[in-house]
Amino acid sequence: MKTSYQFEINPSVIKIFFPEERIKDKYKILEILLESCRYILYNKEVAISRSQYKMILHKDKMSRLVFVGENKIYSIAFPFNISQITSDVILINYKNRFDIDSQNISILLSLLKSPTINSEDCLEFIDPITNYSQNIWSTLRDLLLLEDGYVRYDNDEVGFEKAKTDGHEHRHPLNHIDIFYTNQITFKLGLKKEYTKNDLIDLMDRNTDSKYLNSH
């Protein structure tokens, strides 16, 4: 069974997968997840990517999407099933009961982006959901409760130089991994040298050996 899919990210959609504003909530993560599914359904896979921006879906014991940018690589959970029917046709579903297709992606995105999701009145939140089949709610609920597994690798010269000038370079190592995205929760693990996408995938892959941290 195929375990890895690779796509080049078209320049005019880079902003979707690498938003200008820092990712700070799960709505954004889910938006990226669903946009990725849509991208996978309609864009051709590439064996060797020359573009700096790419998306990799790794589906094995570990099920994750990896987004590769200029100085940044990040990864989130991929909670769906995927099957390649022909070289052109890929199908995605959730728990074999809900198709992740154009229509359902649009419905889920419109619910996630709707202001009613933040309404003080829970009935206002429910109202638009009731327009659709029951599977929409159970899928939306599971997505909202999803462990999104956000991990990011950064090669951040600007941040590092600034930290250095301020006298604490080890609070912002040049190469580092950020775990989680909420301000009070996120933390960095410094790396002695640059990481490639393969290093990051290898770090997260449960089929390969684990990495060890020195205890200081």
């Binding site: 078209n10 320049p11 005019s12 959609v13 902003k15 849509r38 991208y39 359904l41 309609y42 864009n43 297709d101 154009s102 229509q103 992606i105 649009s106 995105l109 419109s110 982006k113 709707s114 003080e120 009145d121 009935l123 206002e124 109202d127 009731t130």
Partner: protein, 421 residues
């Protein structure tokens, strides 16, 4: 100039929806009145609630108040979009406003439901449309009510034609020419140089890309948000796949970002606006590309087609997959472009009566019943088992006749019920 007095929002001046939410009386007129006259608030999402019900409920409550206890809720009420409200709403407003009620409506909003002469009983009519090129408006009216086709879906009385801005010229053999005064919204744009509506051409994404590229060549300064692409079909599954395919073609071939308006429900700068028919109300664009499978013969569809074509203020494109019946409309468009008038054949008195009766039936059936209730009644009448109803309803929603066409719905159910068990 110094501002002497700030507006006292929600104390002396309210600008709000008609409905609103229960917990905030200032969020809507109905919500405010429930609070003011102590009436139980009905939520918008409750099955079967509509303007007629909620405003009747308030009116009855107000009528029950003894004269000495009655208080006016407002001094003045200004209402927009009158076509969206039932008569009881205006009756209520007159009752609770101390001085005067002003009512404004849009005579260009629809070409079926509010086109009888009672709509004309108003004090002032503004019948010039400054948004749309008059040729686009003429074509939209023409294709909208089937003026270029043998069988018309609607016909207006002479006073109504005149109130929506047409001059009528009658020729031999019931031939009629309808003229509009030309209006120039942009002084620097010579509208005679190009056609305001372009019809035909494939609905394949590659043709849409070609059209946009053509626009880019002709208007060097054009930006993605100058263009809207509107899909006229109801929300069928393949509509969404079509849009996704088209969107990625736009991304890769034009390197423009797209805004799927049915997800974002707002305009986004520097993106091309792609929408179904539900997220376009009140918007206008320099260029509009309307895409549809076929020009259907239902009132709802034709009204949508009319409205969507008039969303442009420079140019509208209409791309149709099914060529059937296009020729007559193309011919009608050619005459508009060449001579600036609509040429059509006036229906005979008998045909007019037929048109009127059919439309009346449609409006009546559409008025107060939800589709669920409408279909339930038919299912009960035909004794269709509960378990097959869901599938049958889905199948009916995918047909091309009007949702509330009782005769056709019955025929469809009778013919197909054995296949849906």
């Amino acid at each position: 100039m110094r501002v002497e007095k700030q507006i006292e929002w929600d104390k002396r001046l309210w600008v709000s929806h008609a409905w609103g939410s229960r917990n905030n009386p200032n969020s809507g007129l109905y919500s405010y009145l429930c609070n003011f006259y102590n009436v139980n608030f009905l939520r918008f999402s409750y099955q079967g609630t509509g303007y007629k019900q909620i405003f009747t409920q308030i009116l009855e409550a107000v009528n029950a108040i003894e004269e000495k206890d009655f208080r006016f809720a407002f001094d003045y009420i200004l209402i927009d979009e009158r076509q969206d409200f039932p008569n009881v709403f205006f009756e209520l407003c007159e009752k609770i406003a101390k001085n005067k009620v002003y009512i404004a409506g849009d005579i260009f909003q629809d070409i079926y439901e509010n086109t009888n002469n009672t709509v004309l009983e108003v004090d002032i009519v503004l019948n010039k449309c400054y948004r749309t090129d008059p040729r686009t408006l003429m074509f939209a009216h023409g294709v909208g009510i089937g003026l270029f086709e043998k069988k018309k879906l609607n016909w207006f009385s002479d006073p109504y034609w005149s109130v929506i801005g047409y001059n009528i010229e009658r020729l031999e053999n019931r031939t009629i020419r309808l003229y509009r005064e030309p209006i120039r919204r942009f002084d620097d744009l010579n509208i005679g140089d190009f056609e305001s509506v372009i019809m035909g051409g494939s609905t394949h994404p590659s043709n849409v890309i070609k059209i946009v590229k053509g626009l880019q060549d002709m208007h060097k300064e054009i930006k993605p948000d100058d263009i809207a692409i509107i899909l006229l079909e109801e929300n069928q599954k393949n509509l969404f796949s079509y849009i996704d395919g088209l969107s990625y073609a736009i991304n890769s071939k034009l390197e423009w970002e797209v805004n799927r308006a049915y997800e974002n429900q707002t305009k986004i700068p520097n993106t091309i606006y792609i929408s179904n028919i539900n997220n376009i109300k009140g918007l206008e664009f320099p260029f509009v590309i309307c895409i549809t499978g076929a020009i259907k013969n239902t009132y709802k569809y034709r009204n949508v087609l009319y409205t969507m074509l008039t969303r442009s203020f420079i140019q509208s494109y209409l791309l149709v997959t099914d060529e059937k019946g296009l020729e007559a409309n193309k011919e009608g468009l050619k005459i508009i472009n060449e001579y600036n008038y609509i040429e059509t054949i006036e229906p005979t008195d008998r045909e007019k009566k037929e048109i009127e009766n059919k439309l009346k039936k449609f409006i009546q059936s559409n008025a107060n019943v939800s589709f669920e209730d409408f279909i339930k009644e038919i299912f009960n009448e035909l004794k269709i088992p509960i378990k097959s109803r869901k599938k049958l309803t889905e199948a009916i929603l995918n047909t091309d006749f009007d949702k509330f066409d009782k005769q056709k719905t019955i025929k469809f159910i009778k013919t197909n019920s054995e296949f849906y068990n």
